[in-house]
Amino acid sequence: MIKTIAKPAERKITACGECRSTCQSACKTSCTVGNQSCERITREERPDKETK
């Protein structure tokens, strides 16, 4: 039995450059892209999502 937990949402916009640089997100040594969300999607489509 295989059950999908998560799959990427379809994107209307990509590479807009509006997100913060990875290096400025948390630590300035090993900040990782995959630990972030798309800030545009968060802002426009999921305003209730915690963004800290």
Partner: protein
């Protein structure tokens, strides 16, 4: 590529090409691993089960969620500058043993950035930002709060420039919190998009490394400042950011200590240092991976009790995560992101500051060394050949260029110890994502 893994008897399938995550039972995981050529005993799996597994896989393939072809090239990168790290001072009021910046001095004389140079850096960023609207500047040191007046004046200047240019600045400050008084708190809450506060966790852990100029531990001098700031922060972003070394491989206790002191946005990073008795080495990897598992259990316990917190490296957003452009190009150091030292010199990022080989120009000259920039602009996930077969490549983007360079001598070659920690955190982050969904149901 499909990564099948078992975490505490939970079986997961991560499809690298699509970025989708699935769960399955043990027999399905075994069968799929056998299909990948792994030596797994599948003699107990019945024909009926195999049929069901293959039907499930076929359905995922139809949706593009299994063995989806991975992108191996991407049109990039813009020549626009997006962010600057402003080394507002190369001096610090602490003397932390593990400091990569030579306890604030960056292997040179202790100095402060003039207001004029900082403003010139803001102009340099605007001039080189092309059509980008959102720009970022972070105040870094040394200890930026030793220069609060300069920071205030530079932010005011940038706000004026916003009105003239239509740009929007997002500011960040990284501080040790020693000088985080009411004036600084009020200013940060008004102007800083993000604030990173250095605190290593338990008092004895923090004090063993993060010492004042007089050699005394700084924990008691900063903890109340950090608490006061966080309590005043409201919904705005901050991170309480610790460092673990080989001396506190039980760092889950430090993360939980921070969470139990009221901090709900935490990161805890492996130290980057050549100092023999603090450095993370291969012999520590097993303990560190176990400790990430301990932290995962404690993290989920707190989540279940309604005391959840944000731990940066356990975040993974597989539904609305970063776009491919970002996953491939990572932080953009040396191309869209630079650091500027107190005299205006430009380097690919703060971790290259002071290394003559990577000096890229000066904000007063207004030009960036094209050769060095090309080296960084063309460096991306796809040029890091060691990453080709790694399941986590679209999560970590091939690692930090500075980390790669300092450990392997080449920005393109990832450091294997960092890779192993990264992969462990990625698997745990996926497990946490699945667990949270199960709990919510």
């Amino acid at each position: 590529m499909v990564h099948i893994f078992n975490y505490k008897n939970n079986y997961y399938i991560y499809d690298v090409g699509s970025g989708s995550l699935h769960e399955c039972d043990e027999n399905t995981a075994k069968y799929l691993l056998a299909q990948q050529g792994e030596k797994v005993d599948i003699s107990t799996i019945t024909e009926e089960e195999i049929k069901e597994i293959e039907e499930g896989v076929a359905a995922l393939k139809k949706e593009g969620l299994y063995e989806k072809e991975e992108i191996s090239a991407y049109p990039m990168k813009s020549g626009d500058v997006k962010a600057l790290c402003l080394h507002i001072c190369h001096d610090c009021n602490l003397r932390c043993r593990y400091c990569f910046a030579d306890e604030g001095a960056y292997h040179a004389q202790r100095e402060f950035m003039s207001e004029q140079t900082a403003k010139r850096a803001i102009d340099f960023l605007i001039e080189n930002s092309g059509n980008r609207k959102i720009l970022e500047a972070d105040f870094f040191g040394g200890e930026p709060l030793m220069c609060l007046k300069t920071i205030k004046n530079v932010v005011a200047y940038a706000r004026e420039r916003e009105k003239q240019t239509g740009k929007k600045f997002l500011f960040t400050t990284t501080t040790n919190a020693l000088l985080l008084n009411d004036e600084a708190i009020e200013f940060f809450n008004a102007e800083m998009e993000n604030v990173v506060l250095s605190l290593d966790g338990r008092k004895e852990v923090h004090d063993a490394i993060r010492k004042t100029v007089n050699g005394k531990g700084s924990f008691d001098l900063v903890i109340n400042n950090v608490k006061k700031f966080v309590q005043s922060r409201g919904d705005k972003s901050y991170y309480v950011r610790g460092t673990f070394t080989s001396k506190n491989l039980d760092f889950s206790n430090d993360v939980i200590f921070l969470a139990e002191n009221g901090f709900d946005s935490i990161s805890m990073e492996p130290v980057v240092t050549p100092i023999e008795d603090l450095a993370i080495k291969e012999e520590h990897l097993s303990s560190i991976c176990n400790e990430y598992e301990n932290l995962c259990e404690k993290y989920l316990d707190k989540y279940k009790k309604g005391e959840g917190f944000n731990f940066f490296h356990f975040n993974i957003d597989l539904e609305g995560g970063p776009c491919l452009s970002k996953r491939v190009s990572a932080c953009g150091a040396g191309n869209e992101y630079f650091s500027v030292t107190p005299n205006g010199d430009i380097y690919p990022c703060h971790q290259f500051a002071g290394e003559e080989k990577f000096l890229m120009g000066n904000v007063y000259e207004g030009k960036i060394n094209a050769d060095i920039r090309k080296q960084f602009a063309t460096s991306c996930l796809f040029t890091r050949k060691k990453c080709d077969g790694c399941f986590a490549k679209f999560i970590c983007s091939g690692g930090c260029s500075a980390n790669n360079y300092h450990y392997t001598g080449d920005i393109e070659t990832p450091y294997e110890i960092t890779c192993e920690m990264m992969k462990k955190r990625a698997e745990i982050a996926m497990h946490i994502l699945a667990e949270k969904k199960r709990i919510k149901k």
